[in-house]
Amino acid sequence: METIKKLIRKQSLEKLFTTLSASRKVYAPVFAADKRVEYKYNPAFAEVTFEHIQSTLSVKNVVFPKVENLMYYTNNKVDSTITDIDLTKIPEVVLWGSHPCDNSAYDVLKSIFCWDIKDEFFAKRLEKLVVIGLACHQSDAYCFCTSVGLTPNSTKGSDILLSKTKSGDYIAEIFTEKGNAIVAASSDLFEQPNNEEIVIAEVKQTFNHEQVTEKLKTAFEHPFWVANSLRCIGCGACAYVCPTCACFDIQDETKGKEGRRYRSWDSCGFSLFTLHTSGHNPREVQSQRWRQRIMHKFSYMPDRNESLGCVGCGRCSRGCPVDMNISEQLQALQNI
């Protein structure tokens, strides 16, 4: 559909939020006790923040939960049975106030979960997701969306995108029928847009992702990987806070004879990730695993999935205990 532009006054946001919360799951950012920003289902509107730069964790969990049941089983030797998951029970979720980088990530995840054969667990959750995005009016030193082809007000992935105006009201751009349905249901809250200027964060471009992708084609054996991953401790923090990291594990968990097979987040940073039963490990040391992380996002995915595995949110760098700053590394890679 054609984009529709409306204005919503700051005092009307609460009405919109509570209307949505009354009948749906609304997932919105709040400040936790320790000042981190986290998303919560149906918080009180007073708790919801419009001033956060970035939540600690991404919001990929709405389409790719950290643990997802794939089936139930009974293990009874001869009479073992399996029971399917009823995907029709997946509820509609309204994602409120997520930034353009996070919203762009759903396309990236889709390029992983739905290339070749379609993963219905992911696809169904995405289908049931309505995104009311919030353009960024502030940024920090870790943000680099402009280096990966996005902007602080990219519209990709949003059904509605809110952009703050100088007076504190919001311009709502409506891109999809899903978004339109929300606006139509609260049409009294939306006005014709005025010409007031919107406030958009400035994010300086630090590298050219196409050049990085080009460089990586021949960089597999480059000494860069060892030299630049010495301080990497091999935890999964970067992968788990990342909005586009989609690697997962599949495990069974049984109580008595009943159990479930589930998938859970996994990380290429762990040595166990690729360890063969024989003890052989194709990615034996951390430098190889760090290389895999960068290669996957900036070389293999553009090549195989026609998407870039990074949206420039900077969470991996903010969350890294040893300051493995990805944008710094990509700048360096561009020039090797």
Partner: protein
């Protein structure tokens, strides 16, 4: 309801063959006839086999697609799932997802000689294509199988080795590592590369299919090159740790290629440009 790509078929263990002290072959039949009717696969493909409660494990389908109504798998007791599988009995229900991965291009091999070279537990991933081409025997010229194991006790498919040996239209060379022979061992004694070298084989109009431990591959490749095999005529099947089997879980890739989607079958020509991540 939508299709759940992680949901396995329910299979019944129809037959168990104890190949060696820690290797077993299962014949699995579909519990539901509709599943059996719509199931088909090609030589070289693999699947995810599971004991509910223990998880899934990846191995190639070891039976030939020309044998309908069942699939077979051969595995060594090594990790959690294979240990649980090894404890299963005839009549037990197990899970199977598949087939996944690419295939040996056996149609393109028609009219050629086939040289199969396998070491140890690497014969099972080749057994499917071996039987497939034997079942279509008239389409191929000479079929030679070179198979080696550490000891006589470690040779798998002993009954089939005997059958192949007795057939006039198959040349079978079996070998065991020095010291691995028994008093009545009539095969060769020596490592696969050495035995291959003195077997007097030719690369003319021949496809080589090779699978074995890395050290065997390392020493066999120069011999194949000396015999004049071109890289595109040497095939192998790779393994990497896998979970999903269809290019999503992210762990089996070798460079940009997924072993589960682009493999497991690769030519040496393709392998040469891959980074050593397998």
């Amino acid at each position: 309801m939508c299709e759940n790509i992680y949901k396995p078929y329910l299979m019944v263990i129809d037959q168990i063959v104890e190949e060696t002290a820690d290797v077993k072959t299962f014949r699995l039949k579909f519990k539901n006839q509709e599943d059996a009717d719509k199931f088909s696969f090609k030589a070289g493909q693999f699947g995810e086999y599971s004991i509910f409660g223990e998880g899934e494990s990846t191995f190639c389908i070891a039976s030939a697609p020309t044998r309908k109504e069942y699939i077979e798998c051969t595995f060594r007791k090594a990790g959690r799932v294979t240990n649980a599988l090894a404890n299963a009995e005839v009549g037990d229900t197990v899970g199977f997802r598949g087939p996944y991965g690419n295939t040996f291009p056996i149609e393109q091999w028609e009219g050629k000689n086939l040289l199969y070279i396998a070491g140890g537990i690497a014969l099972p991933p080749m057994r499917c294509v071996i039987w497939n081409t034997i079942d279509l025997r008239e389409k191929y010229k000479d079929i030679t199988i070179v198979y080696g194991a550490r000891s006589v006790a470690d040779l798998v498919y002993k009954h089939e080795l005997k059958e192949w040996e007795e057939r006039a239209d198959i040349k079978l060379i079996t070998t065991v590592d020095p010291g691995g022979q028994t008093p009545d061992w009539k095969g060769e004694i020596g490592f696969v590369p050495t035995v291959l070298e003195k077997a007097g084989l030719s690369s003319a109009n021949t496809i080589a299919i090779l699978c074995g431990p890395p050290v065997m591959i390392k020493f066999t490749m120069p011999i194949l090159k000396n015999l004049g095999f071109e890289d595109k005529d040497i095939f192998t099947t790779l393994e990497n740790r896998m979970k999903c089997g269809f290019g999503k879980c992210g762990r089996c890739n070798v460079g940009k290629l997924f072993v589960c989607k682009d493999g497991p079958v690769f030519t040496y020509e393709e392998m040469k440009v891959l980074p050593a991540e397998y």
